[in-house]
């Protein structure tokens, strides 16, 4: 599985995979951190449209990217979060710092 980021107008868009677990979260961290430290990025947009599974490793990945962007004066957004994954994100409390967008 290859995670690839796309940059448009200082926004880094990450298309998340179907299953966001420890295995895929590690790859996403590497890709986002590489781009966020070498390019001028103001926000990271995580696109959940394909994601049907997320566990606490996915929450840890989001928390880590939020802290990193916060330190750089930027933001993190979560879009197209659906069903089960939305439930997990709300249960974790991360939606207090990264609100879910449609």
């Amino acid at each position: 599985m290859e995670i690839e980021g796309k940059i448009t107008d200082k926004s880094l868009i990450i298309q998340l995979p179907q299953e966001l677990d420890h295995h895929s979260a590690d790859q996403i961290c590497r890709e986002t951190d590489k781009l966020a430290t070498t390019e001028d990025i103001r926000e990271i947009i995580f696109d959940f449209s394909r994601t049907t599974f997320c566990d606490s490793s996915g929450i840890g990945m989001l928390m880590g990217r939020y802290k990193m962007m916060n330190a750089l004066g930027g933001t993190v957004r979560a879009v197209q979060v659906k069903g089960r994954v939305a439930k997990i994100l709300m249960l974790s409390g991360i939606t207090k710092i990264i609100p879910l967008e449609s």
């Binding site: 420890h22 295995h23 566990d55 089960r84």
Partner: protein, 142 residues
């Protein structure tokens, strides 16, 4: 209805999805709802991830899952022979993580407890850890 299974695999992160999907397949004979399957998959993922990261510190050893179905009760034991846990109540506290350097959220046990009816941890430092999880699968009309 009574059935058991034993699943053994290497402690590498690619096997997290393998473990979830296999346990989900095992429980289909209980005729669970999609929500119940999703609950169990999340809990299995958390326990297996803990074994890989914390139990074995990312070294490759074996993780074993024992599954048992007894009527409407599903019992899963996730076993590693890793470093073990000194203070079990501490690691089960929400938001606690022994590895903030790895950006762990500290929510693994919170999710296991939220999605299973019962979660029990047996561990001995230097010997290993067993996480025992139970969930009653409700009757669903076919």
């Amino acid at each position: 209805m009574k059935n058991t299974m034993k699943l053994e695999f290497d402690s590498i992160s690619a096997n997290e999805s393998f473990a979830r999907v296999t346990v989900a397949a095992f429980m289909t004979q209980m005729n669970p709802s999609m929500e119940e399957v999703a609950d169990v998959k999340t809990a299995v993922s958390e326990a297996v991830t803990n074994a890989i990261i914390h139990g074995y510190n990312n070294e490759v050893h074996k993780i074993t899952i024992f599954g048992k179905i007894e009527n409407d009760m599903l019992e899963l034991k996730v076993v590693d022979q890793g470093v073990g846990i000194e203070d079990i109540p501490k690691v089960m506290e929400p938001m606690y993580t022994s590895r903030p350097d790895l950006e762990r959220s500290g929510m693994g046990f919170l999710f296991m407890e939220a999605f299973m009816d019962e979660v029990q941890v047996e561990s001995k430092p230097g010997v290993g850890t067993t996480v025992i999880m139970k969930k009653k699968i409700l009757k669903h009309e076919a």
